[in-house]
């Protein structure tokens, strides 16, 4: 069993830890850093509940070892609001009723943020396609699409 010293920047703060090589990134975030907003919903890289931004890319943190994140910049749902002000995507999900049980929501929002950063004016089909790595069981997706559309408009200013 090998352990490794890693250093990551999470939501702007530098964190260092000694991790076992097999520790999955999602467990590092949830257990070591207590960032429990990132959830786990499957074993097969299917559901996207664990989506975080890894150097700006939306990735499934259950399919990445923590040791691979050494030196990386990570962003989780806890880092969306800045200075107490909600991110437009958070406002969008709230105002458009884009969440119900809330379990897929952090992953869904992180995927949406990455989507909007890459494509600030997505069409409805582009939004649906861009979120197709995230499963939601409650909303039927209609209001999630609306939430992302509202956030897109708000981010345009």
């Amino acid at each position: 069993m090998s352990t490794h010293h890693i250093q990551v920047k999470v939501n702007g703060a530098v964190k260092a830890a000694e991790v076992e090589s097999r520790l999955l990134l999602v467990h590092f975030l949830r257990e070591s850093l207590n960032l429990t907003g990132t959830h786990i919903g499957c074993d097969t890289t299917s559901c996207g509940a664990c989506t975080v931004l890894w150097n700006g890319r939306a990735v499934k943190s259950c399919t990445l070892f923590a040791v691979q994140a050494d030196g990386a910049e990570l962003r989780t749902v806890e880092g969306l609001a800045q200075d107490g002000k909600l991110h437009p995507i958070q406002v969008g999900f709230h105002e458009k009723h884009g969440l119900q049980c809330g379990f897929c929501t952090p992953g869904m929002m992180m995927a949406s943020v990455a989507l909007l950063e890459a494509n600030p004016k997505p069409t409805e089909d582009e939004i649906r396609w861009g979120l197709s790595g995230n499963l939601c069981r409650c909303t039927g997706y209609v209001n999630i699409v609306k939430a992302v559309q509202q956030a897109a408009e708000q981010m345009q200013g």
Binding site: C42, D43, H94, I127, Y141, N143
Partner: protein, 784 residues
């Protein structure tokens, strides 16, 4: 200070619970960490039926950090190796000698953390002697079939029938037209994105257990746990169940699963908090499933399309134990809502429950105890009859609907429908979708060799369990509760016996109370899920929260208002009968200026209440509904079929729902969107199946196909409002309507597209290979 809006009934109030969820601050079970907490992981059987010859634990115990391995024998010393099911059957917590389905629990490994527990599980060696497997309920009923249960006479669990068999037979004999079809509604799984789990915390000093767990019914679970462990001294007052935020329930978090009991047992013997969290495979392969009904359905009618009689014969596959989450007094739940929206004079249904080597079935996947099975069957059969007599399915339905003036309507199977306007809902859906134009387009396309179909489902649900004459859980009546306390400053807290899993109770319950009391919803805090603080209730499932706890909220508020009136009379020095209520205040009739607001009254309740009256302003209501509620709707689905691949594409889906009075239209619409997605999924994608060896297919999300945003249609919703006459605010349940009603609309659309070829029926899920095989069979498959 600007006045705070009341946000009562009909207000699209934004959800209160969102504040924590959008910040990643929800408190789900796996987020819990208690000092010294241990983790349990479970060894499961690869075989669907086998004798356990030996369990060797030495290698597992040698794994650093593994503290213990327990088996059925360990639990037997405490007599907790078995537990009762809601249907009074026996379910194993851990087996003594035999496993009955694949991935059944065999042993449990306790470790200092999940990684070591998982290593321990991998190191446990079990010797099995495989036994013959039976997964097909029809084969299970054949003489000489492998017996699933040694403690039972046969694989046949029960027979249940309802209605007048002789009268139905007679009507069939006299019928001008009959149609018959075999319909299979396969096993599916709720697959909430959060799996199940718990943290059991035994306090040895105080002899008290706190069980944090993913349950939709905390109070009922407390009683069940007390039943299982009472003989150990763990009686009900020593148990506290806390249900934290739940990441989706849909019925899957109603039953008690072995993992919970194992965690409790391990916490008691170690004295440490013990966490058990399922992984996805465990959730899919070992938790309770929905459906698995094989139905042979017949309708009788006249040549003009008038329906006269119905006969449904059903085999229900319940797996190895009858663990249906079904609090009704009928073994097949509410299946006898099978006459649906139609005015049948004669009806008869019979159901036989069967044991197979599968996990316990019979939870209601977002549905009220077999309503979906009934609705799917009657709506498929209605289309069959319509086509058979040459009527448009819409005209056929209009002709046979129960008419608005017939309500309250007593059905041939004994239910009293509260209210309805079925034709109104269907007409609205037809207008929204442009029904006539679509039929024209369909005819034109067919000439060009393109297949499109239009499917209707005009469903009637039966929700809000339920009246004590029809329901109980182990004798407990199916009331639900609200307890409200108004604070001196006019703010309030209310607690409920239900438990939201995403339905937005924290938002909508406050709206009911706000409407009744005139206290702004923002000033009312809602709490659920802690059995130490909330009043007893039976929980949230079967669309019962609004019909029961929602009604309790209104009733408790009215009790508060009654006391408030006495205080107001005292304050205004007026007679009670001279006071009139207007939202938020009492005033003296004829002198609107002589008024006391609810806030003033609340303050007086603690400071200046009449002599002889107790202080405080609070009330509790346990509401036992006089009847169920009968939400309904009409859905129209338009599909296009790819003749080269068999793919079914849902082009339009219009859903008109009538759930009576809508408390929060935004949330109601959200419930319908989600319900539609969970109706669409089993219609086209989701299925759990087993091979002849009992291997499960669909135990993870690569093979159990949950639709993404890309596959899911763009829902179009509409409403009509027909209040429930017996509910205090006229509301009916709505969380499940769409899941119940949608599959038939989709299936009907597919058959409608292919009817001219001679296709009469296709079982869900309607997958591309199935459609392609139908096209091929009827010479209509293309290879381009």
């Amino acid at each position: 200070m600007a006045a705070v809006a009341i946000q009562g009934l009909g207000h699209p109030r934004k959800r209160v619970e969102d504040a924590r969820f959008i910040r990643g601050k929800g408190n789900y079970i796996d987020d819990m960490k208690l000092p010294g907490m241990l983790q349990v992981d479970i060894v499961r059987s690869p075989y669907a039926h086998a004798k356990i010859k030996a369990i060797r634990t030495d290698k597992a115990l040698a794994v650093p950090g593994v503290l213990a391995v327990i088996t059925g024998e360990t639990l037997k010393q405490y007599n907790v190796h078995n537990m009762p099911t809601l249907m009074s059957d026996t379910q194993m917590v851990l087996p003594l000698d035999t496993v009955k389905y694949q991935f059944q629990e065999v042993a449990a490994v306790l470790g200092t953390d999940r990684y070591t527990a998982a290593d321990g599980v991998a190191a446990v060696e079990v010797d099995y002697e495989p036994l013959p497997v039976v997964v097909d309920p029809f084969k299970a009923l054949e003489p000489g079939a492998p017996k699933v249960r040694d403690d039972k006479e046969s694989n046949h669990i029960w027979h249940w029938e309802w209605g007048d068999r002789a009268a139905a037979d007679k009507a069939f004999d006299a019928a001008e037209v009959t149609v018959k079809e075999n319909i299979y509604i396969p096993r599916i799984h709720v697959a909430s994105i959060e799996t199940c789990g718990c943290v059991a915390q035994w306090n040895a000093t105080e002899g008290h257990l706190t069980l944090y767990m993913t349950t939709q019914a905390p109070h009922a679970i407390r009683t069940v746990v007390a039943l299982i462990t009472g003989h150990l001294g763990l009686s009900e007052e020593k148990i506290r169940i806390v249900s934290p935020d739940i990441g989706g329930g849909f019925g899957g978090k109603v039953p008690a699963y072995p993992g919970y009991v194992i965690a409790v047992a391990l916490s008691i013997v170690t004295g440490a908090p013990v966490k058990w969290i399922e992984d996805r495979t465990e959730n899919m392969a070992a938790d309770s499933f929905g459906r698995d009904y094989h139905i042979s359905a017949e309708l009788a009618g006249k040549k003009d399309g008038t329906l006269t009689a119905l006969r449904f014969k059903t085999i229900a596959d319940h797996g190895y134990t009858d663990a249906a989450a079904n609090p009704s007094k009928m073994p097949a739940g509410l299946f006898h809502i099978a006459t649906g929206s139609y005015d049948f004079k004669n009806a008869f249904v019979e159901v036989d429950g069967v044991y197979t080597n599968k996990p316990p079935g019979g939870i209601a996947y977002r549905c009220s105890f077999r309503v979906t099975e009934a609705v799917h069957t009657i709506e498929r059969m209605a289309d069959l009859m319509a086509h058979e007599v040459g009527l448009d399915p819409a005209d056929f339905r209009m002709k046979n609907f129960i008419k608005p003036e017939q309500f309250p309507y007593k059905s041939a199977l004994g239910w009293e429908y509260d209210s309805g306007n079925y034709a109104g809902a269907l007409q609205k859906a037809m207008d929204m979708v442009g029904y006539k134009e679509l039929r024209k387009e369909q005819a034109e396309k067919r000439k060009r060799g393109e297949f499109m179909g239009i499917g209707i489902s005009s469903f009637t649900e039966i929700v809000g369990a339920g009246p004590s004459k029809d329901f109980d859980i182990l004798g407990l009546k199916m009331f639900d509760s609200c307890e409200i306390r108004v604070h001196p400053t006019g703010k309030a807290i209310a607690r409920f016996g239900t438990k939201s899993q995403g339905q937005g109770h924290e938002t909508t319950y406050a709206q009911i109370l706000a409407e009744e009391l005139g206290i702004p919803a923002d000033h009312i805090k809602i709490e659920e899920g802690d059995t130490d603080t909330a009043p007893y209730g039976l929980g949230t499932y079967a669309s019962r929260s609004t019909p029961t706890a929602g009604a309790a909220a209104a009733m408790a508020a009215r009790k508060v208002r009654a006391k408030a009136k006495k205080i107001a009379a005292h304050l205004l020095e007026a007679a009670e009968e001279d006071l009139q209520w207007e939202q938020g205040k009492f005033f003296v009739k004829g002198s609107p200026d002589r008024a006391k607001t609810i806030q003033e009254i609340a303050f007086a309740a603690y400071t200046n209440h009449p002599q002889g009256m107790e202080a405080g302003l609070e009330a509790v209501s346990y509401y036992d509904p006089p009847n169920l509620t009968f939400p309904f709707g009409s859905y129209i689905c338009v599909v296009d079929i790819d003749r080269g691949t068999g793919e079914v594409k849902v082009r339009r889906f219009v859903a008109v729902d009538d759930c009576g009075v809508r408390i929060n239209p935004m949330i109601v619409e959200g419930q319908i969107h989600g319900g539609l997605a969970m109706g669409f999924a089993p219609a086209l994608m989701e299925e759990i199946s087993y091979d002849e060896n009992g291997n499960i297919h669909g135990s993870n999300f690569t093979d159990y196909l949950l639709p993404t945003a890309v596959e899911t249609p763009k829902w179009e919703t509409g409403e009509t409002v027909t209040p429930s006459p017996h509910h205090p605010i006229g509301a009916k349940g709505v969380g499940e309507s769409a899941t119940v009603g949608a599959p038939a609309a989709i299936a009907n659309a597919v058959v409608d597209a292919l009817w001219h070829l001679g296709v009469r029926h296709v079982d869900i899920p309607i997958t591309p290979p199935k459609v392609w095989a139908l096209l091929k069979e009827h010479g209509a498959a293309l290879e381009e």
